[in-house]
Amino acid sequence: MKTKAQILHLSGVEKSFDGADGPVPILRGVDLSLAAGETLALTGESGSGKSTLLHIAGGLEMADAGAVHVAGHDLTGMSDTQRAAVRCTEVAVVFQQFNLIPSLTVADNISFQARLAGRVDGEFVADLARKLGLTEQMRKYPEALSGGQQQRVAIARAIAARPKVLLADEPTGNLDESTAADVLGQLLALVAETGAGLMLVTHSPAIAARMDRQLHLSKGRVA
């Protein structure tokens, strides 16, 4: 089932959280794969486990059962350090909010992951900043930016790291409609340029419709 083009592959992933009366299953055997250059929308009701699935795919949380392969690495049984390395070099995540490191300038934020992964490219970063309209903001600190600008910085950082897998969890959920549309457009354009695979969580059918493929998460399974 695993082909060369597949950069993200989950099979039989299960996850439950401790509730008031025993564990509450959230994911009950999720199978999912993503190819390089492909964009995938993950939809589902609030609380259906979309974010949890995305965290497991990004090596941020561990699955209770099942296998997770990211860019050829089997995350199951990896140490904390090894998973952190995969997170740094192969994956980039854009969250809904508070993506940025408050003590670093925009410029340092954008290049942080790329430098950590050892692939910083000044020209590429400058180009990204220009495309995202951030050139003026490079010396500012995150707290001085608007919500839309902060999300653009997060996208710039994710792209600058040149990951194989890009994960985005409602990246425009906190933005007003027109800003959201702009930011999403820029994200899709950049992903297309880099050839990374994108999995994007959203509850907006309009946004989901702009992706190559859609998956719906419900009752712990995808369809």
């Binding site: 508070f98 993506n99 940025l100 408050p102 950590l116």
Partner: protein, 775 residues
């Protein structure tokens, strides 16, 4: 956890404060009791101009001429000060414990009893019954003058108390007895005043600890409120009035403050009880002041401890409550960095620091007196503390610029961002380290100087004390016959330059010439002294009389000699003047030497001759080593107290750091979550947090070094001169400082370990919550 922190902080603060206050109160009470027992400061007194005895005949002639005076005899018996007075003629209000209170003089006259407190009574070995009276000052036993004279084997009088109401027609004292002098009530040396500096010293440390403790309370309350913001918001949204919420929280703080302060007072009592014997020893060694070795529970200190703790806690809570009251109803419950400082606040801080340090400079140059000295100390320390964050910030910025890797850059940037939240804790650490460096420098300088001083002063191998005049002559002749150099110590209590002082007559010889090191002297000082043309004074007398080498000093009526040299004389509050043996014998032909220093190559043989041939008691011979050891012991004790307080201050500073870190811990999660998500493990982040604590400790230590040395200089060159009358040379002890730095680092790391471990254990889901939409 918060409850623990709050109570610990408040208890520590109160403990140190009330412990110190308890010691001070106990000492003051002892001085007051002593003053009351001795009638010092209460009545005018008549004392001899020279020496320390008044003949019975003088007393009788004064009475005959109409002077209403009452005799007092004082003497030492087995380490207890015996005080005899005449109950019939003593002035009304001359309080001797309960005896005076009940007016039961009959008990005094009949069986010939002594009165003393239980501690002193246990020490007394006398043939008369001792009545326990707890109100009598420690170390003193009182009784009828006849009884005391008999016990001391004397028939003279030490001094005379002068009744407040005297008949108009009476001759001047100078006509009746020209060799006596009248001391006005205020003029007698007041133990309280003499020891003030020591207590001020303790109080300063207590206050420092209290400030740090209060700071802990402040941050704990901050932590508690920070975590309750959500609840406050919900309750307010539900319609609970703000005033109701605030009064509830104030009531809670008050209750906790009482509990914390009570624990603190109990702890303070324990600290004070532990330190009091050392303090008592110190005061006895340094000033000859008697302080009771046991502690009483006095309202004055526990009341003030309680009050200051409650007021402090409420004030700290008030600031936080004001912030809550100002909080908009729908403000986000997300922890916000209250600690962020604006540029304006930084400027205000810089100006305050400037003013304080400027004030310190002015005081250093122009200040006079002990109070000015302590004011200088305060200005200097607080100013330096305020300056600390302002100086650390650029250092961290520079480090960030220079740093290469992304993690290093983030580390420095983040350290800088932490600065405002930690600056109070860092100031506390700075004060603790500086105090440690300062006091360590002072103590060690003192010790070095003192040991060298003992070596020069205690050059003779043996000291011997003669039982009577006949034995004195026998010792001198007998020892000289053995080829031993005999150095008689001729000494008398007198007045020099209108100040009480002790006059010494010495046999100038190689011992003095080689061993005495002068602070300042004319080239042929000893020759001039030997010729009876000059005198040597100790430093404290010279400073008090405002004289120096070359100035003339009044030694005796009609005799004034130039000062040939000034000698350092540590650990002795009294003035001393040294003249040649010949001159001394001219001035005081009646004084015969009772003590002798002996220079010999064979102390054992000399000792044998003394005891077997000359009939000297073995107990009357002291060898130099024993004397030195005793003197050193007194001085070791002197600083035990300060050192103990220093260690406590350091511990409190470490605790302050821990509290700050815990308060900031909740704010840290959103700051650290992105770094973790981008590929740093929690373990690595935790290690970096520890490293950050070390960095802060190093930076603070580097800054504390000059501050501590400044403090040491102020202590040695200003406070010491004002308080004790001598100036100490300052030595540096790099090894000690390095060790202190290590301790500070350990304290900082210890404080950082728990928060760091907590961080390492934070589950990923808690970190991921940061990025999730608020539900």
């Amino acid at each position: 956890m918060q409850l623990f922190a709050f109570l610990t902080g408040l208890a520590l603060a109160t403990a140190l404060w009330s412990g110190v206050q308890a010691i001070n109160a106990e000492a003051r009470a002892s001085y007051d009791a002593a003053a009351a027992t001795l009638g010092e400061g209460q009545f005018d007194q008549i004392a001899p101009r020279v020496g320390d005895t008044i003949a019975q005949a003088d007393y009788l002639s004064l009475r005959r001429q109409g002077w209403l005076v009452s005799p007092i005899i004082e003497g030492d018996l087995g380490g207890v000060r015996l005080l005899g007075f005449d109950p019939l003629s003593s002035p009304a209000g001359f309080g001797v414990g309960q005896v005076a209170g009940t007016g039961d003089l009959g008990a005094f006259l009949n069986p010939g009893q002594l009165f003393a407190n239980a501690e002193t009574a246990a020490q007394l070995v006398v043939s008369v019954p001792v009545v326990i009276d707890p109100t009598i000052a420690p170390g003193i036993a009182v009784g009828d003058i006849g009884v005391v004279q008999r016990l001391l084997g004397r028939s003279d009088i030490s001094r005379l108390l002068v009744q407040s109401d005297q008949p108009m027609q009476r001759p001047e004292l100078s006509d009746v007895a020209p060799h006596l002098r009248l001391q006005a009530a205020g003029q007698t040396a007041d133990m309280g005043e003499l020891t003030d500096s020591f207590h001020l010293n303790l109080t300063a440390f207590g206050l420092l600890s209290f400030a740090v403790g209060l700071f802990i309370v402040y941050s704990t309350i901050g932590l508690a409120f920070e975590q309750r913001r959500g609840m406050v918001r919900t309750l307010r949204a539900l319609g609970v009035p703000l005033s109701r919420l605030i009064s509830l929280m104030v009531a809670e703080v008050l209750l906790l403050a009482f509990v914390g302060a009570s624990i603190g007072i109990v702890l303070g009592y324990a600290i004070a009880a532990l330190l009091l014997p050392d303090v008592a020893m110190t005061l006895r060694g340094l000033y000859g002041a008697e302080v009771a070795g046991t502690l009483q529970f006095r309202f004055s200190w526990w009341g003030s401890g309680l009050a200051i703790a409650v007021i402090g806690a409420v004030a700290a809570a008030g600031i936080r409550l004001l912030q809550i009251a100002r909080m908009p109803l729908l403000a986000s419950a997300r922890p916000r960095a209250w600690a962020m400082t604006s540029v304006r606040a930084q400027r205000v801080q810089a100006i305050c620091a400037g003013i304080l340090l400027g004030g310190a400079c002015v005081l250093a140059l122009a200040g006079q007196g002990l109070t000015a000295g302590f004011a200088l100390l305060g200005c200097f320390l607080v100013g330096a503390a305020l300056l600390l964050p302002l100086l650390v910030r650029p250092v961290l910025t520079l480090a960030e610029r220079v740093a290469k890797g992304p993690v290093a850059r983030w580390f420095w940037a983040d350290t800088r961002q932490q600065l405002p939240g930690l600056s109070l804790a860092l100031m506390a650490l700075l004060l603790a380290i500086s105090a440690n460096i300062g006091v360590a420098t002072m103590v060690s300088s003192f010790r070095l100087t003192f040991v060298a001083f003992l070596d020069q002063r205690l050059a003779p191998e043996l000291y011997v004390e003669a039982a009577d005049e006949a034995q004195a002559y026998a010792i001198e002749d007998g020892m000289m016959a053995q080829g031993v150099t005999v150095l008689p110590l001729l000494t008398v209590e007198t007045e020099v330059a209108d100040l009480p002082a002790r006059l010494f007559g010495v046999r100038v010889g190689p011992t003095y010439r080689e061993n005495w090191k002068f602070l300042d002297a004319v080239p042929d000082a000893w020759d001039q002294v030997n010729a009876g043309q000059a005198a040597v004074t100790n430093e404290q007398l010279a400073r008090r009389a405002n004289l120096w080498v070359g100035d003339d000093i009044d030694i005796a009526p009609g005799l004034s000699l130039p000062i040939a040299a000034i000698v350092a004389d540590y650990g002795n509050p009294r003035g001393q003047v040294v003249v040649s043996e010949a001159l001394f014998r001219d001035l005081h032909p009646d004084v015969t030497p009772r003590q002798f220093g002996l220079r010999t190559d064979d102390p054992v043989a000399a000792r044998h001759v003394l005891t077997s041939d000359l009939g000297v008691d073995d107990g009357a011979i002291t060898d130099q080593a024993a004397l030195k050891a005793f003197s050193l012991q007194v001085f070791e004790r002197t600083f035990t107290v300060t050192a103990a307080l220093n260690v406590l201050t350091m511990a409190v500073a470490g605790f302050a750091m821990l509290m700050s870190l815990l308060t900031l811990a909740d704010l840290r999660v959103p700051q650290l979550a992105p770094v973790w998500a981008l590929g740093l493990t929690r373990r690595r982040i935790g290690r970096l947090e520890l490293l950050r604590a070390v960095v802060f400790a190093v930076v603070v230590c580097l800054f504390a070094l000059p501050v501590g040395l400044g403090l040491a200089w102020v202590l040695l060159a200003i406070i010491n001169v004002e308080a004790f009358g001598w100036r100490l040379p300052m030595f540096l002890f790099p090894l000690d400082y390095a060790r202190l730095g290590l301790y500070a680092m350990l304290a900082a790391v210890a404080a950082a370990v728990w928060p760091a471990v907590r961080l390492m254990r934070t589950p990923p889901s808690a970190l991921l919550k940061v990025f999730a939409h608020e539900r």
